[in-house]
Amino acid sequence: MGPQAIDRILKKYDYEHFAIIAMLQDLQDKENYLPEKDLEYISERLSMPLTRIYRIATFYNAFSLTPRGKHLINVCLGTACHVRGAARVLDRLKMALGIDVGEMTKDRLFSLETVNCLGSCALGPIVVIGNDYHGQMTPARVESTIKKYRKKSPRKKDEKD
């Protein structure tokens, strides 16, 4: 993100240090992760030690220091979903995508994350992909569900890594 756009975010919170978490959230909402250069810029602009920013960025689960896939897959591991078999759904997803939690597929299509209770327990086990809620998920339906998203985003040739 360019300096002016970052400045807009900082200004929104009056450059107050205590609003750093909200600032980072706004940055990530736009960039899908927290780019190193942007964090360095914020550190400079606010006269805030870079270590403090990284302390916060690595403490809170919401933040990612590495780029995330086009489709963010969130598996709910809340107790209710767990009791209904969420762990097996997660295992199947890991197998199908070939990645672990917190990682991104090589084709940059999918990132896999877990969340502790989305509060939609009636639909458990629940998997959210982007903004789509997939309720009552079973290991058997994992492949077909992912396929739908692959179809939506055909592989572009010569995509820069």
Partner: protein
């Protein structure tokens, strides 16, 4: 809405709103909580809007999108007012019929009604549905009557009457006295008497006092705070305003979990509306009371539900708790006296002011007054949010309201209190739900999560699940919590993999002692609870894993095998198709077989098999 300058103006506007509304005008109420969003309620709403337009009925029939109705299992939920006809599992295709038949001709569509699981009887009215009948929905009930983004709706049901009364008729010490006498105890988990907390905070010296609403609801399986904040944000805000006045605070914060965008949205809209009409800001209702509220989003850390960690987060730091030798009511946010309460606690306040202490104390038990909202989830038929008076038994909640266990399952335990709580075995489910009784049996009220477990739930696996959660959510500062939860998880993992040995239970108990005694904050101090309570009531299950290398519930992968019952198998081939490791073999018309060497026990075949032919041993 124009500015409301004084209490009389407030009543005038209220009268105007109520007067302009016809209580008999038909209204389609559509539940729009996050749960129903997941079911697609937005499209249902659009479909109704389109249908009304098509039939030229927009002027004569209202549509209202409301907060969560609580019966999440049956979403999307549509209630037709004023008759209160309760339609459940409504789809897009049903909208045309509902308008044509029910709204135009008063005909009830049977297939959309809730039918009693035992008698098959169809139930028409919302209040008669067994799920709702047993409840006492004094806080949550309003969700169904208001659009959370409409301050007019809240005023129409009597909103801000309590605030007005408090600012004009009561002094802060009088308000605190009322809250003390009401016996209101914190609904977030601690159960600390709210009035006492308010008093300590008020009396603590400091030039600024803060009030905070803890909406960081992190217990997995609990979502009542979210639904309350989404569905009736004004009730929480009104409570905070009354508390702020009583404590002497002019600045409040609502700390909402990052994963609750709709709650953040709705409460922010409510705050903007209040600022617009002058109910937040300076000189509220002309009484000289100044107060404003900011909304903070969490960053994805369960530990930030702990009050000192939450305050650190508001201050823009990592959510590390600090020692509580010095209480937060004396030195909290920015070292100033701070009063923190949970969402549901705040929502109880206007009710107590409006209805009075005598009425409130008539509900509940000796030591736990009022109601509690529970999220009843897991292996239960009627998943949803339940508001019950304190003192109702777990049995009543699970069976009468919850409709019992689905399928052929048998109730095994009910877990309460989230990762800080414990499991209550079936033998004890007649105990009344109240703060002290639950603590006595080794669990706790916590935030109100109530997870129902049946005989297909492995209690060792549950303990392992909670410790897995806690070891990752631990902030990592203190040795005992960071190392202790990790080691407890390791031992539980070893046990579930069939490598447990004699002495492991005792080691878990010893670790539990040091983690609970020596850890810095409540996360660490209560972390051993799930382990201790499952050992207390299900020790034989632990022993089966350790001594017999057996998982009685059929969950722990390393200790079970899947096989196909030849007599039940119809050779439909579904299991073969979904098996990721090619473990199923079988020709057409021949019962299939599972190769135990290849089988990874992923469970895909079990969910697909319509003939119940896969056995778990």
């Amino acid at each position: 809405m124009k500015r409301i300058n004084n209490p009389q103006a407030l009543e005038e506007i209220r009268e105007e709103i109520v007067g302009s509304r016809d209580p008999d005008k038909p209204c389609i109420t559509i539940c729009s909580g996050t749960g129903c969003h997941a079911f697609g309620c937005e499209r249902v709403t659009e479909a109704f809007e389109a249908e009304l337009k098509k039939q030229g009925l927009e002027e004569r029939i209202d549509i209202r999108t409301t907060g969560c109705h609580g019966f999440c299992e049956r979403g999307p939920i549509v209630v037709i007012n004023p008759q209160k006809i309760f339609y459940q599992r409504v789809t897009l295709k049903d909208t045309e019929e509902i308008v044509s038949e029910t709204l135009r001709k008063n005909n009830i569509i049977d297939r959309l009604l809730y039918s009693h699981p035992q008698t098959g009887e169809k139930i028409v009215k919302e209040d008669d549905v067994p799920f709702y009948k047993g409840q006492m929905r004094i806080i949550f009930g309003n969700n169904g009557n208001i659009d959370p983004t409409s301050i007019e709706d809240y005023l129409a049901i009597g909103g801000y009457k309590a605030l007005s009364k408090v600012l004009t008729d009561l002094s802060p010490p009088e308000i605190i006295d009322m809250i003390k006498k009401s016996g209101l105890r914190g609904r977030g988990g601690g159960g600390f008497p709210a009035g006492v907390k308010w008093e300590s905070c008020r009396n603590a010296p400091g030039d600024r006092h803060y009030v905070i609403c803890n909406a960081d609801e992190g217990d997995p399986g609990a979502y009542m705070d979210r639904s309350l904040l989404e569905g009736n944000p004004h009730s929480v805000l009104e409570g905070m305003m009354i508390g702020a006045y009583a404590i002497g605070s002019d600045e409040g914060y609502i700390y909402v979990r990052n994963e609750y965008p709709l709650a953040v949205n709705n409460v922010s809209i409510a705050i903007d509306q209040l600022r617009e009409c002058g109910l937040l800001g300076e000189n509220i209702l002309g009484t000289g009371f100044n107060f404003d509220i900011k909304v903070n989003r969490g960053g994805g850390a369960f530990v930030c539900g702990e009050s000192t960690a939450l305050m650190a987060s508001i201050e823009g730091q990592a959510g590390e708790p600090r020692a509580k030798h010095i209480h937060t009511v004396e030195s909290g946010l920015w070292d100033k006296p701070t009063n923190l309460n949970n969402v549901e606690t705040w929502a109880n306040v206007p009710l107590i002011i409006n209805k009075g202490v005598d009425w409130y104390t008539s509900i509940g038990t000796e030591t736990s007054k009022g109601t509690k909202i529970f999220s009843l989830v897991g292996k239960v038929n009627n998943t949803g949010l339940v508001e019950a008076p304190m003192g109702m038994s777990i049995r009543e909640i699970v069976y009468d309201i919850g409709g019992g266990i689905p399928g052929n399952g048998k109730l095994k335990a009910v877990q309460t209190g989230g990762p800080s709580g414990g499991c209550i075995p079936e033998s004890l489910i007649d105990i009344p739900v109240d703060f002290d009784r639950l603590t006595e049996v080794g669990s706790m009220m916590g935030s109100g999560g109530m997870i129902v477990m049946d005989d297909t739930t492995c209690m060792v696996d549950i303990a392992k699940y909670f410790l897995n959660f806690l070891k990752d959510e631990s902030c990592g500062k203190c040795t005992t919590c960071r190392e202790g939860t990790r080691r407890m998880y390791e031992i539980l993992d070893i046990i579930t993999r069939g490598e447990g040995k004699e002495g492991d239970i005792e080691l878990l108990e010893e670790l539990s002692w040091v983690v609970s005694e020596v850890s810095l904050c409540a996360l660490g101090q209560t972390a051993p609870n799930p382990v201790l309570s499952t050992i207390r009531y299900f020790r034989d299950e632990y022993n089966a894993h350790i001594k017999d290398k057996r998982c009685p519930a059929g969950v722990c992968k390393a200790l079970i095998t899947y096989s196909i019952d030849e007599e039940k198998c119809t050779a439909c081939g579904k299991c073969k198709r979904v098996c990721p490791s090619d473990a199923v073999t079988g020709e057409k018309k021949v019962p299939h077989k599972i190769d135990p060497e290849k089988c990874i026990r992923c469970g895909a075949c079990i969910t697909e098999c319509k003939f119940d032919a896969i056995e778990v041993a």
